[in-house]
């Protein structure tokens, strides 16, 4: 057991280190901007006095390293700074009214929405892809297997917005079953919220199911040549039982890995889908901020996405270590 804990601790430390370095990369990238924040806020017609005031207000007159640690320290405490777009301009030039929309206030409800979307998608996609993968492995090289193979390859390679619009066309416009715009606000009932989330969730399901299902199929088929599978077959077990009882538990490590990787993809791949469905999630906020160059929001979203991505990858790593009995019970 000792060695497992050591490996996991190592991975955790590595993950934290990566996150730290990534935050440096994001900070440096943003600081490569020509001019500085002050000029970006005020535009070209700014008076030197105003620029100077904002520089002081935002602490831009300090050296980059100090600023980086201030930013990181504040971010760790949940303070992600003030959004440019929502900023009260009076506050920047000295007459501080004390009321500001912070980035954290903007992001928090949207983050929750995005997590909801990802959770709904995972709840649909994981069982479906596992069942499809097991069935495809069971009936490999049959018509069913080939049809699923071609369908999944097609849905993996299509851009998300293509799948999204096809779904909108069939499920929202031609057969009005689901709303094509995910208008979500606070205080909605769960059922209503679910209904409005369903179409984007289905689109994402189409994207990730294909990958998960193919990996499940490949992982199981990989094991079918092993001696213990042969033995189980010779005992006269039914093919379904052989796969579910003997192949599946041993194929768990790669399957867990690919599920976690796809969840990581979900957190980040929601960007396009959220824009298509006007879903009020963090991805849409990110794209909007990119367009208006709202640097603090872009920076914060980028950090959150990267953190989620790294954490889920870390989780995949740790789970696949834990699912390996040879590591859990060393000799």
């Amino acid at each position: 057991m000792n060695s497992v804990i050591r490996i996991i601790l190592q991975r955790l430390a590595l993950g934290l280190l990566t996150l730290f370095v990534v935050s440096i990369v994001i900070f440096t990238a943003v600081n490569l901007l020509p001019g500085d924040f002050a000029q970006a806020i005020l535009g070209q017609g700014a008076t030197p006095d105003a620029v100077e005031a904002i520089r002081r207000d935002l602490g831009l007159d300090q050296p980059p390293i100090t600023r980086y640690f201030q930013w990181l320290g504040a971010a760790l405490q949940g303070d992600l700074g003030n959004s440019f777009a929502q900023a009260n301009f009076a506050s920047f030039v000295g007459a501080d009214s004390g009321v500001r929309t912070t980035v954290a206030q903007q992001i928090a409800p949207r983050f929750e929405n995005t997590m909801f979307l990802a959770a709904v998608t995972a709840a649909i996609a994981v069982p479906v892809s596992l069942v499809l993968g097991i069935l495809a492995a069971l009936f490999r090289n049959s018509v069913f297997d080939r049809a699923t193979n071609i369908t999944t390859l097609t849905s993996i390679s299509s851009p998300e917005f293509f799948l999204a619009y096809v779904l909108i066309l069939f499920l929202a416009v031609l057969n009005p079953m689901l709303p094509s715009l995910s208008n979500i606000f606070e205080g909605m009932s769960f059922g209503e919220r679910l209904e409005r989330t369903l179409l984007p969730a289905l689109t994402l399901t189409l994207v990730v199911t294909a990958h998960m299902m193919r990996m499940t199929r490949a992982a199981i088929i990989n094991l079918l040549a092993s001696p213990y599978i042969e033995m189980a077959r010779l005992k006269g077990m039914s093919p379904m039982r052989v796969i579910v009882k003997h192949a599946l538990p041993n194929a768990l490590a790669p399957i867990i890995n690919v599920i976690a990787l796809n969840l990581a993809y979900l957190i980040t791949g929601v960007v396009v889908v959220e824009v298509v469905f006007v879903y009020p999630g963090i991805g849409q906020l990110f794209v909007d901020s990119v367009k208006i160059r709202d640097i603090p929001v872009v920076q914060a979203c980028c950090l959150i996405f990267a953190a989620a991505y790294i954490l889920l990858n870390l989780l995949a790593d740790i789970l696949s270590i834990l699912s390996n009995p040879r590591l859990r019970h060393p000799k």
């Binding site: 990534v22 917005f161 416009v173 993809y265 980028c302």
Partner: protein, 400 residues
Amino acid sequence: MSTLPTLALILLGIAAGGWVLRFAGQKATGNAPTFRDMPFAVAFGYVLGASLVVFSVWYFFQPTITDAGVPNAGVVFFRWAVQFFLLSAVAAYLFRALGRMIGTRGSKKLFRQMPLTASFGLLIVILYALTAIFAAWLAPYGQEAVFAKVNVLPGGNPATGGDPLHPLGTDQIGRDLLSRLIYGAQNTVGIAFITTCLAFFLGGTLGFLAATLQGWLDQILSRAVDVLMAIPSLIFALLLMTIASAWAGSERWLLTVYMILIIAVIDSTRVFRLARAVGLNIVVMDYIEAAKLRGEGLGYLIFKEILPNATAPLLAEFGLRFCFVFLTIASLSFLGVGIQPPLADWGTMVRDSAQFINFAAFSPLTAALPLLAAGAIALLTVGVNFVVDWMLHRSSGLKE
């Protein structure tokens, strides 16, 4: 919502049908092994498949216009999809048959072993390449040509708001959509191709260099790539595009150049990983040792010894990478920060015409516009993926 109970009823009926099929088969064939050992799931699958086929055929021959004179859009779209599917299957079959007849012995053999999906993919890739190269001759007008008639509907029928001069209509400032669709092949595919080549040049060179020299250079490059890969690529691309848009200012074309560079650098990290891994396996070979003892230089080692032996995996990766780059660029353009106007581009076209999809019930042709541009993107990536899938299958020697 009565959809769910109906669906459940249909599934129950199919389940009963499956049981009946198995039972009848057992009785009719005197317990033949096929039916005796058939699991219920398989019988269910047969009946489900058969019902789907029957339903499709029935639906296909439904009238396209209802009695009230309103187009039955569902049937129209279904017919288009089925016709497209059948047409592409026939085209792929003919293309494969053609490839089996003409060409060298090697190419003939290649076509003999090719599955239909791969020949379809190859056909698509060739067609796109031809369209991209000869866009200026194929397109009826230039991509920036603006006409007086704006918002002409597709169809070319003046009675329904079309114009025979513009078969796919014009956009909100009067540019011919067919021409822009054709030029889109040149711009979107061309830019994606350039980006992929750049990513491969960068990632491949650095990867082989790291594999050959090893030591501190390898360590620095590998750790840097690890960090860059820890940020999801679309997010990183969007972050860098924000900065690039500040750099580019009002120079739109400069932003496109920055986008090529940004995506090339982000994607070269993935190429670096592969090139380094493949290169590490090659540098331990005896012929590399021999070349080193002969006193060959670094350039000779990389380009004459390692590269030729790493072509197969790199080629498959090139296909996949191209798809990723192509989809990233399309997504960026769709989000409005990618390829900039006036260049015609499919991602932007999808975004601009997206709202037409709501008119599907009244005018299927108009609603098809955004799907046409998005489908053009999907078709190429699907084609490339089919070819790469087959290449990987062949080189891995997997039979099961």
